[in-house]
Subunit: 205 residues, 2 copies
């Protein structure tokens, strides 16, 4: 059977198909790059309608990455999907604290999720400027609280938890905050979506 | 803001909502567990219609895992999403060869994708009995070739590459093979879907 075996040609062809199928639905260049990469990752065109990017989000994220910002993710999966080699060019690193022993201990003691305890640990390091949450609404709620309390001022929040309990609400709450954000409205999202958004920004640089 | 903070309650409630919204669409118990976990991971009910499970797939996979089968994934993301602690109870391990130096070298020499070269490495270890492909159609095509040549006889193939070039075709080809398989028809799928399917089976044991 004949099939394309060259990765960059596969990706190029995929983006052509996506652009074609989006038809009249066009976007400003950088916003389009993010939305198309999310569709590329999910094969789900609904993301063209539910992905919301605050006006300052892309510029703020690019500036932060160029200045060596570190990225925090809520899951190992999201961390795993981010192009860390590309980030390292700017001296950036990705951290995920969910499996740390002190996080597990704190979560147990306080009766909260590990995702929440991990966010608390994340804001303890000033280098962490970009927060990427693809799974846990509780992490996004906790991050919102820290922002409102003035404990952290992220350069970008990618808030795309997927799910049926709290996900939509956690993202809706974010759209009212004065912080650069990218969210997916409603239930959809996930770790692959989170990583795709970060990579789309990395590939703009 | 009030929200559920106990992970197992969040999951329980999510599965209740999914079952309710599936309505008249019911499944045999174990098939339902897989489909619902995929929907839980994607918030996308289309998976109820496109997920195809061969009649022998679940029993074969359970038997293999209980016998200590190892799992191979095409991406680090899929590996990252699989519950490795649970698998280790049965002495199973997860491997992903995509970043191995010898794989990169072979791919370059032969002008094939790293995903294809990684599959070639994977079939070299007899302990690898479950093949999980969530991203690369080329890996699934290559695996199909090895099965047809009699070089490997998997106890389960989870074939759920996502995408616009080759993904649908790579999965369609699998439905004609005499091997236990779980696929998602069409373009949809991905690393999170792949991991959800494996975890659903692990949680049945």
């Amino acid at each position: 059977m004949d099939y394309i075996k060259v990765p960059h040609l596969i990706e190029e062809k995929s983006f052509e198909i996506i652009t074609e199928e989006l038809g009249d639905k066009t976007f400003p260049e950088e916003i389009g790059k993010i939305i198309k990469r999310v569709i590329h990752t999910t094969a789900d065109f609904q993301y063209a309608d539910i992905t919301v990017i605050s006006p300052d989000a892309i510029a703020s994220a690019k500036k932060a990455i160029k200045s060596g910002a570190h990225i925090v993710t809520d899951t190992k999966m999201a961390m795993s999907g981010i192009n860390k080699a590309r980030l390292l060019k700017y001296k950036g690193e990705v951290h995920c604290y969910i499996s740390d022993e002190d996080v597990a201990k704190k979560a147990k003691e306080q009766g909260i999720t590990r995702a929440m305890a991990a966010m608390e640990k994340a804001i303890g390091d000033e280098k962490n400027k970009i927060f990427v949450i693809g799974n846990a609404p509780t992490a996004l709620f906790k991050l919102k609280q820290f922002i409102e309390e003035g404990k952290v001022k992220p350069d970008l929040v990618v808030g795309v938890p997927v799910g049926f309990v709290g996900a939509a609400e956690s993202k809706e709450a974010f759209e009212k905050l004065n912080v650069p954000y990218i969210v997916t409205r409603g239930r959809k999202g996930g770790s692959t979506v989170a990583a795709a958004i970060v990579n789309a920004i990395l590939y703009m640089l």
